[in-house]
């Protein structure tokens, strides 16, 4: 058995390795992701020889890549992504589930990663803004935000785009919103501007790029009989 185990790959773990080897330590250690997302090498649980007491072992697939980590249970999914996996596209805005800058997809569903403990996503498939492009081709929602200038400073944009990707799937599947008139009709949703605004209400933009964000999403909405007769 190696002198220590570094599940996950992190600069702090790499930096600590030679120092500990030089000290001649032979105890099994684990790289533990701490609250806030930093990493420390901690001794194995002396009782079990496994991960330190109080930590949680989890595996995630993030943007198609598998990760095994040992966590302080306080680590939010957002901090795991940004501070440990260095996927800094996902942004920390309010850290209280109010602004939506931290929106990612968990098993295809949009969630606030700041209000979710990473440990609760053991086994989940997470997609962040970095995981949307395919073979160097922007995701259609990314391209639409560029075409329609759907941002100014850009800080909220990764969350807006992840949210919009899920929005289009939800509308296709017929999921209603607060402004959907007939809840009994479970066909695809006619994405009017009112529907788009309501469905994007979990993503704030302090620059006020909302008109262009709505235009970007509208450009990807399936054609609708009721909308096609309206002037552009």
């Amino acid at each position: 058995m190696s002198a220590f185990e570094t599940d996950g790959f992190h600069h702090m773990a790499r930096a600590a390795r030679p120092r500990i080897a030089a000290m001649g330590l032979t105890r099994r250690q684990f790289a533990v992701v701490l609250a806030g997302g930093g990493t420390a090498l901690l001794d194995a649980d002396p009782q079990t020889g496994g991960p330190p007491a109080g930590t949680v072992s989890c595996t995630f697939t993030v943007n198609g890549q598998a990760h095994s980590v040992v966590l302080d249970p306080r680590v939010s999914l957002l901090d795991l992504l940004r501070e440990h996996l260095r996927l800094t596209g996902t942004k920390k805005g309010c850290d209280h589930g109010q602004c939506g800058a931290c929106t990612v997809l968990a098993d295809g569903r949009r969630i606030n990663s700041c209000l979710s403990l990473a440990a609760q996503h053991d086994g989940d498939r997470i997609t962040t803004i970095e995981g949307l492009e395919r073979n160097g081709q922007l995701h259609p929602v990314q391209a639409a935000f560029l075409d329609h200038d759907g941002f100014q400073c850009g800080y909220c944009t990764p969350g807006q785009i992840c949210s919009a990707v899920a929005l289009l799937d939800e509308a296709r599947a017929g999921s209603p919103s607060f402004v959907t008139r007939d809840l009994r009709n479970n066909g695809p949703i006619d994405l009017t501007d009112d529907e788009i605004r309501e469905r994007m209400s979990g993503n704030l933009c302090r620059c006020g790029a909302y008109p262009n964000i709505v235009a970007a999403v509208r450009s990807l909405a399936p054609p609708s009989a009721s909308r096609s007769i309206e002037p552009e």
Binding site: P73, R110, N112, Q120, L167, F178, G202
Partner: protein, 327 residues
């Protein structure tokens, strides 16, 4: 955030046993509890994650509906049975929070969410009998525009924040719970409590009891219904006043009415006399206004929210009018 241990419960029995340790809490979707832990309002030593334990199924049950406690708000709102037979529930759920939050939030957690009273939510504001019993109520003398007009006490004027619970109260749902002493059923009317002298206790759930499901009985009034939410912003805001109204109308006469108010008290507010006063009446503004007066009898506004009494009265009339117009 205070360090805590995390235990992913393997079964309902395991969850109930695990939460028996001092300073333990069940963890659902986390949208309220994790937020409160970040601000320091909640500081459990042990979290028992129950998201993979009680059922998340939504299914027919005894002629009505059984919603597993871990069903996510978005899945309940989108379920065909809910949309066709209990649209009031779907409307109430879709009126709350955002798509991202509804994908995380669970029905069990929704029943357990804490008030959004500013004095409760911010530990830097000293006084709050709910957060720190005996410290006083900062809201009574402070800014209390969003607070209670019914059922408050000198110790607490907070309101319950849920939309779903208002609809569940109107539909006379029953909360199924499991505890160390076994299973029991709690009618929605008895689930939440008024603050009295112990505002730190939100519900009549006993320690270590876990919500496993919510049953919605068959209701003839369930389809002719309306959820009206009045708020400062038309999306992603808590209710100043909300009304869940459901009517069973037969040949121009109201057979049965069910009305619950949100945003006005420490629990969804129902007044059986108001519902009885509508039975046998033709639907119309005169009857609806009488019901509204009965619902708001004894209302005592705070110094910043006298508007809520008239707002609630008009909202009741409007919600009943819209409900009566449904086919």
């Amino acid at each position: 955030m205070r360090p805590f241990t995390y235990h992913r419960a393997a079964s309902v029995t395991d969850a109930v046993a695990a939460v028996g340790r001092p300073e333990s809490k069940f963890l659902g979707g986390g949208t309220n509890l994790i937020d409160l832990m970040k601000t320091g309002v909640e500081h459990p030593a042990h979290l028992v994650d129950v998201t993979r334990v009680p059922s998340a199924a939504i299914e027919e049950h005894a002629g009505g509906l059984r919603i597993g406690a871990m069903a996510r708000n978005s899945d309940v709102a989108n379920h065909a049975l809910v949309r066709t037979r209990y649209p009031l529930l779907a409307q109430a759920l879709l009126a709350g929070a955002t798509p991202q939050l509804r994908n995380l939030a669970t029905v069990g957690g929704n029943l357990m969410q804490r008030t959004r009273c500013y004095y409760f939510y911010d530990p830097t504001l000293g006084e709050c009998n709910k957060r720190n019993p005996g410290s006083g109520c900062g809201a009574r003398s402070g800014f209390n525009r969003i607070h209670a007009i019914l059922g408050a006490s000198p110790q607490c004027i907070a309101v319950h924040p849920s939309d779903l619970c208002v609809a569940l109260a109107a539909l006379e749902a029953v909360v199924q719970v499991q505890g160390p002493a076994g299973a029991r059923a709690i009618p929605m009317a008895d689930f939440h409590r008024l603050p009295g002298n112990t505002p730190q206790i939100d519900t009549n759930l006993r320690p270590e009891e876990l919500i496993v499901a919510v049953d919605v009985p068959p209701q003839a009034a369930a389809t002719r219904s309306h959820y009206l939410k009045v708020r400062d912003r038309n999306s992603y805001a808590f209710a100043l006043v909300s009304v869940a109204a459901a009517l069973d109308i037969d040949g121009g006469t109201i057979r049965q009415a069910r009305i619950a108010l949100g945003g006005v008290a420490h629990k969804p507010w129902r007044v059986p006399a108001a519902e009885q006063a509508l039975a046998g009446q033709p639907p119309g503004e005169a009857a609806f206004a009488r019901a509204a007066d009965l619902l708001l009898a004894g209302a005592q506004p705070q110094h910043d929210n006298a508007f809520k009494v008239e707002l609630a009265r008009r909202s009741v009339v409007r919600a009943l009018t819209v409900a009566a117009s449904q086919s």
